[in-house]
Symmetry: C2
Subunit: 274 residues, 2 copies
């Protein structure tokens, strides 16, 4: 079904504000179409008549040059600018208006039609949590120890470079979850006993594991040809970490093939953290 | 227009995968309705018949208990499960199917209807960039200096606690941008000359500023009653930092009222980093 003349398409993400929502849904929809290349153009903060005119011009000239209409994914809230842009030479996907009338009917309430609420500070009651969770994750990464674990919503454990820090940061940024981390070092892996400082927080623990070959590659990028990065060392550490998880009934997840978004969502799901 | 019986509504975000996209658009739409409280329930990884049945049950019983149908925001891609859930006792907002047919027509291509592409590792060509940018931001935060600036896409400068680190981390996580940071300390602020290590990277610099009263509050949470957290010190540092930006024609932004999403999007916009 592929139209051979149609291998590359121009896509615009247009928003009154950051454009993060337009990009999330638009990107999700585009990922359903394999074999096409998309040239993505981001127009954020389209919040004046001048900028709206500029956006229309850009869409028209991109469509003209490509010989076919660009796709426009829009979360534009301002009606005047939205209508202007929708009338440009494009296929217009309206992520806002498409749903807002149905919501108004269902909620029996008019929407405020005010731009920029979802990713702003004031209308995101989770915002200060998220900021303090980032500081928490950064502090935990410096190894502040048991006081940190006390205040943690969860504690990620795993060998060096198994994905703990980026996962903690993502959970902080996206969900405002206080995720601490504890790196399993060699002396922790001598037997399958839980390290002492973790014992009273067992219910908060979640383990990460990773394919040793992948781990070897990651470590080698950091410390090339070291014992730390040898395959044997990686295999050994991973096996012992998994033994430790099994022996102590600690839930764990293999991070080799999955993104930090998926790791985080799965952990939150399993620990029922939301 | 507020329906007085209608102050609290149950909302579900349902997805085959992480649910991040459903939450982004759903949250954005909900933020348009002031004066209502929403009880939000997240059902992610609904990827088996059992889990789909479970989701239907949860929606039905929540709607029954509330006495009115829950709102369901769905990015469910599997058709069978999507149809099941849409037929439960709810108002169903279909973020996937609503747009996918129009996209298929416009792209002259069938969608793959495969779940979980947008936030996965393999279909996110930006993923390894994002991971390496997180390490970059963390490394830069430890003050690795000039080698870091060489490889940076941009360098955020500002006084302590003006928002540099969280903004750098967000730009890394969301966009895969290598954002370094340089904290302006007192000796940098003695005059309006650019610190020596930054001079050759002037084109990469972006300044942050903040209301001194807000800064004082943030610093006081960290080091209560210190000179560092005194209003006078905060006023002095902020004024000198702004003088430095003005003298050297460095673009800058006031972070007092805006979120790290907005800070990041505005900076990327201004420096044309995408």
């Amino acid at each position: 079904m592929v139209n051979q003349n149609n291998k590359n398409r121009i896509v615009f993400f247009i928003s009154d504000r950051t454009g993060i929502t337009a990009e999330a849904l638009g990107g999700s929809l585009l990922s359903q179409f394999e074999g096409l290349n998309f040239t993505k153009i981001h127009l954020s903060f389209i919040d004046t008549l001048d900028k709206a005119h500029g956006a229309v011009k850009k869409v028209n000239s991109a469509s003209l040059e490509a010989g076919e209409p660009a796709l426009v994914f829009s979360t534009q809230i301002n009606s005047e600018f939205r209508v202007m842009i929708s009338k440009s030479n494009c296929v217009f996907f309206d992520f806002f208006e498409t749903f807002i009338s149905k919501m108004e009917r269902s909620l029996d309430l008019k929407s405020s039609h005010t731009a920029g609420k979802s990713h702003s500070m004031n209308h995101n009651n989770n915002y200060s949590n998220r900021m303090s969770s980032i500081n928490f994750a950064l502090g935990s990464d410096d190894g502040l120890g048991s006081k940190t674990y006390e205040n943690a919503d969860l504690i990620l454990i795993g060998v060096s470079r198994s994905g703990k820090t980026p996962s903690c940061l993502f959970m902080a940024l996206q969900y405002g979850i206080n995720a601490a981390n504890y790196p399993l070092i060699e002396q922790d892996l001598e037997n399958t006993k839980l390290p002492e400082s973790l014992q009273q927080y067992k219910h908060k623990l979640f383990g990460l594991t990773i394919n040793p070959i992948r781990l070897q590659k990651i470590r080698d990028e950091r410390r090339s040809n070291s014992n730390y990065a040898s395959l044997k060392q990686c295999q050994n550490e991973v096996k012992r970490a998994e033994d430790l998880y099994h022996s102590n009934n600690i839930p764990f997840i293999d991070t080799t093939q999955i993104s930090i978004e998926e790791i985080s969502a799965k952990i939150i799901n399993k620990l029922s953290l939301r």
